[in-house]
């Protein structure tokens, strides 16, 4: 005897060896295990196999745990969550009495007006019908995710599953056999268990078979693949073939009174008596229509259960024990009682007869667990054993069809009269089969109902409702296990920024320095002296090979063939609709190749696009993504050249390195390619260098720059600097259907080229004036934080005609500026618009240094 106890609603419940939570509670006298969803009807133990909702309790704060399959180990804390003030005495049971006032679907037709009625009603309904509060304070548990491959996966380790595992489809194949429980643990002693043990020994001795006990299959997906959940793991199994040996449950029976506590299915009752030593009642009636049913009857009697009567078909009459009255070919009519079973009514030889009893055990057929197979479309799946049985049609005698959702048969009849005439629509209207059992108990009955009531011609309405995963309750934590957090990219200067105490943030998949603590100071440094920024996130690509120029000329809209070595050019990539999708800077290198830089967020897309067109046009090119390999530091400001001259002996005066151009040079001993940049509107150099030498270069610049009053700057300062030049951020300032014309970028397009991606579309659009444009804006009466205007709608006479896409306060211009798109009106594009209480005036860009003299220095 294993001493042990459960904490159940403030009292201790003793636990014996082999107990489940349900058996321990039942032995201690608990008869009401839960309250039904809508009517708060008392529910007792029923199926014993974890399918029906009746035995669900809250274990250690986790709701919805099926106590009939949960071993009673450790000091578990058990509660019944539904019922107020308690499950035993539940005032909300009044909902059941008010059933006629709340016909099926009533909440879809009521509480519509006044508006607040639904809010209030919903809160009340939610409180009354929930499965229990979630343990929100519980710490997250770690679930391991792993991948396994095999040739055949067998789901279910009963007789059929063990047999299937021992008969490989192909010689030498790897078989994986899984089961939600330990092999044989759910079967009472008897011939079936003996057969299982024999097969089990052979399976364990076979090295080609891997056994996973305690791992429940969650569903069947493309592959075929079957995810298994168990022991803090999510195991994703990829197989060539799937064998479904999940067996069958005993069929749920429909008759008046079928959900009373005291009504059992055969397996649950015989397990309670034979395995746990507790008879299901003191006066038990058994209905055994099958051989299995007779086995249960005999097991009950052998365990000392007082069975007063047994309804059996004539073929089994000799199997009925002497102590029990055999009722041959009798029919179960109804179960009676108030809150618990007190008697049953049977029809015997045409006569109705009432038998007093406190337990009714039903074993009247099987419902195959074929959900996995029904999830497969065209996958190699085979059903074996009881799961492959052709189940008979359930008899729809009355009572509750769906125990989980508290849907009675007459609710379904009501729905049919209202015009909901197929299993699928009945499901959605009544919510039958939508509960925790997902139709395992009630799916066949619902389909059968629809089939019986539909015209003979309309057979689709009686089709079983779609089988959906998960097959077992599974925590979201488990499903999230293989989901990798967002991939975080870092430059080679990441540690440097951390050490400098930079404020880091996410931008386009990279961790970037947003600022070093003084945004206004960083901005001023760039405009007045010199600043330095980590731009190692830019995409960098090598385009080489004899068709390199042809590829660039095809992918980009502008002229490429006249780009001389040492020069660079802003390039636009369009899609086949003529819309702008990427931009970058193309540098022609001395050896005939090109170095392309792209936006940080668009790098992978640009690489994919280059490869795509190289493939489609069959070009001989060599492409290399150098983004990881190269770091980049932007040095910008009137003193930028002064700083670089201190660190290099190579010529970098305007003639040697003009704008727009680039050249190789060595800075502080680090080999770099310096590219003249105009993005921030000052004299600036992008220094592309080997990633590993980045910290060295950064330190040297900082050291020599001290005398020039250098400051590092981050993304936040960059935002304002580029905005003052009217430079757009793709995705922020652009819409998916922006053509170069709408963005004022026609200068980057060369329509005289014979062909480039999107040219045909631009030719078509050339005849139509653009209906929208991106414009520079100046704001009057802007709030202190200019950036707040970002996203504001732009209006003319109260009608929305545009939106502010970027906005900031410009210290140099002493006003708030921004960019925004504006729709053309009847009289052309408006020049003055409203942005809330602020006035926005369209101005030409760049706002700052319009002629670009500072950049070209």
């Amino acid at each position: 005897m294993t001493p042990g106890r459960l904490r159940f609603e403030g009292r201790d419940v003793p636990v014996l060896e082999g107990d489940t939570v349900a058996s321990a509670l039942f032995r201690a006298g608990v008869r009401t295990f839960s309250r039904s969803l809508k009517g708060h009807r008392r529910r007792g133990l029923y199926c014993g196999t974890g399918e029906c909702p009746n035995c669900a309790v809250t274990v250690d704060g986790v709701p919805g745990v099926r106590s009939c399959i949960t071993p009673a180990t450790g000091d578990l804390r058990i509660e019944r969550p539904r019922g107020w003030p308690s499950a035993d005495h539940d005032l909300l049971h009044v909902a059941d009495l008010a059933h006629p006032l709340m016909p099926v679907g009533f909440y879809l037709k009521t509480f519509i007006r006044p508006r607040f009625a639904w809010r209030t009603a919903e809160r009340m309904i939610r409180r009354a019908t929930g499965s229990g509060p979630l343990p929100m304070d519980a710490p997250a548990t770690r679930t391991v995710s792993r991948h396994v491959r095999c040739d055949t996966i067998v789901v279910g380790a009963g007789v059929a599953g063990l047999t299937a595992a021992l008969e490989p489809a192909v010689d030498g194949e790897r078989v994986l056999l899984c089961d939600g429980f330990a092999i044989g643990s759910r079967v009472a002693p008897g011939p079936t268990l003996d057969a299982i043990r024999t097969l089990e020994a052979r399976v364990r001795a076979n090295p080609a078979i891997e056994i996973m006990e305690g791992y429940a299959a969650l569903g069947l997906f493309d592959g075929p693949s079957v995810p298994l959940a168990g022991a803090g793991e999510l195991v994703q199994v990829r197989a060539e073939r799937v064998v479904v040996a999940t067996g069958a449950t005993e069929a749920h029976q429909l008759f008046p009174g079928n959900d009373l506590p005291g009504v059992w299915l055969g397996r649950a009752a015989s397990a309670m008596a034979a395995l746990h030593g507790v008879p299901p009642g003191r006066r038990v009636v058994v209905v055994a229509s099958t051989a299995e049913g007779v086995e249960h009857l005999r097991a009950l009697v052998a365990a000392g259960t007082p069975v007063v009567a047994a309804l059996v078909p004539s073929a089994f009459v000799d199997e009925v024990p002497r102590e029990t009255e055999a009722i041959v070919d009798g029919e179960l009519v109804e179960a009676r009682g108030h809150g618990r079973l007190r008697s049953v009514v049977v029809r015997e030889r045409g006569e109705r007869r009432r038998i007093r009893c406190d337990a009714l055990v039903l074993s009247m057929g099987l419902a195959p667990r074929d959900e996995l197979a029904r999830m497969a479309v065209g996958e190699p799946v085979r059903l074996v054993g009881d799961a492959a049985l052709d189940a008979g049609e359930p008899r729809l005698g009355g009572g509750y069809l769906c125990l989980c959702e508290d849907v009675a048969l007459h609710d379904v009849e009501q729905a049919w009269t209202e015009g909901f005439r197929s299993a699928e629509i009945l499901k959605r209207y009544t919510t039958a089969t939508m509960g925790p059992c997902r139709g395992a108990m009630c799916g066949r009955a619902l389909a059968c109902f629809a089939r019986d009531h539909a015209d003979a011609a309309d057979q689709r309405s009686g089709a079983r409702t779609t089988a959906r995963p998960p097959l077992r309750p599974v925590a979201l934590e488990t499903l999230a296990a293989p989901v990798h957090e967002v991939v975080e990219k870092r430059t080679g200067l990441h540690e440097v920024h951390l050490a400098a105490g930079a404020n880091l943030g996410w931008s386009s998949g990279w961790k970037r320095a947003l600022s070093y603590g003084d945004l206004a100071g960083e901005y001023r440094a760039v405009r007045e002296r010199v600043g330095m920024m980590d731009v190692g996130t830019l995409g960098r690509f090598l385009i080489a090979g004899r068709d390199a120029a042809r590829l660039a000329g095809s992918v980009f809209a502008g002229r490429i063939e006249d780009l001389a070595p040492g020069r660079s050019r802003y390039v636009l990539a369009l899609d086949e609709g003529g819309y702008v999708v990427d931009d970058g800077l193309l540098c022609a290198v001395e050896d005939g190749s090109y170095l392309l830089t792209s936006t940080s967020g668009g790098a992978e897309r640009m690489d994919a696009r280059l490869r795509e067109w190289a493939d489609r046009l069959q070009l001989h090119v060599h492409l290399l993504d150098r983004t990881s390999e190269l770091g980049a530091i932007l040095v910008a400001g009137p003193r930028a050249r002064d700083l670089l001259e201190r660190l290099t002996g190579d010529p970098i005066e305007a003639a040697a390195l003009p704008y727009p151009g680039h050249r190789e040079l060595t800075l502080a001993g680090v080999p770099c390619r310096a590219i003249r940049s105009g993005f921030v509107g000052e004299l600036a150099f992008e220094l592309h260098h080997p990633r590993s030498r980045g910290p060295e270069l950064w330190d040297a610049l900082l050291r020599e720059g001290k005398a020039l009053e250098i400051s590092p700057f981050g993304l936040d300062a960059l935002e304002v600097l580029r905005l003052e030049k009217g430079h757009l951020y793709l995705g922020q300032d652009t819409l998916p259907d922006d053509t170069p014309a709408k963005l004022g970028l026609n200068w980057a397009v060369d329509m005289s080229k014979p062909w480039f991606v999107g040219k045909a579309a631009l030719e078509r659009l050339a005849e139509l004036p653009p209906t929208r444009r991106l414009a520079g804006l100046e704001f009057e009466g802007a709030p202190a934080e200019g950036a707040e205007l970002r996203g504001a709608p732009l209006t003319v006479g109260g009608a929305v005609v545009g939106r502010v896409t970027s906005a900031a306060n410009s210290a140099s211009l002493e006003r708030a500026i921004g960019l925004g798109w504006i729709r053309r009106g009847e009289d052309g594009f408006p020049n003055e618009l409203g942005a809330g209480s602020v006035v926005a005036r369209v101005v030409s860009t760049p706002f700052y240094d319009p002629l670009g003299a500072r950049v070209r220095g």
Binding site: F221, E576, R611, D615, R616
Partner: protein, 75 residues
């Protein structure tokens, strides 16, 4: 929980390694109207469709395959 796609270079791989590149169509059309249809009116066939796919997390090459849009069967 993955569909497998056979990359001509790398062999069968989970679909999560790939990016879809649209219907396989010629990159030019005889006239403006045909070009508009080519770009903006997808075939949207219910059945086998020739498509371009990109092995993004593998060899990063492009290839064409035929996929049945009803069953996801490839080839």
């Amino acid at each position: 929980m993955t569909l497998e796609i056979a990359c001509p270079t790398c062999g069968p791989r989970p679909h999560t390694e790939f990016a879809y590149g649209g219907e396989e169509l010629p990159h030019v059309a005889p006239d403006a109207e045909a070009d508009f249809a080519r770009v903006f009116h997808p075939g949207n066939v219910e059945g086998p469709q020739r498509e371009r796919w990109f092995h993004a997390l593998g060899c990063r090459s492009w290839f064409v395959l035929t996929r049945d849009t009803r069953t996801n069967r490839i080839g």
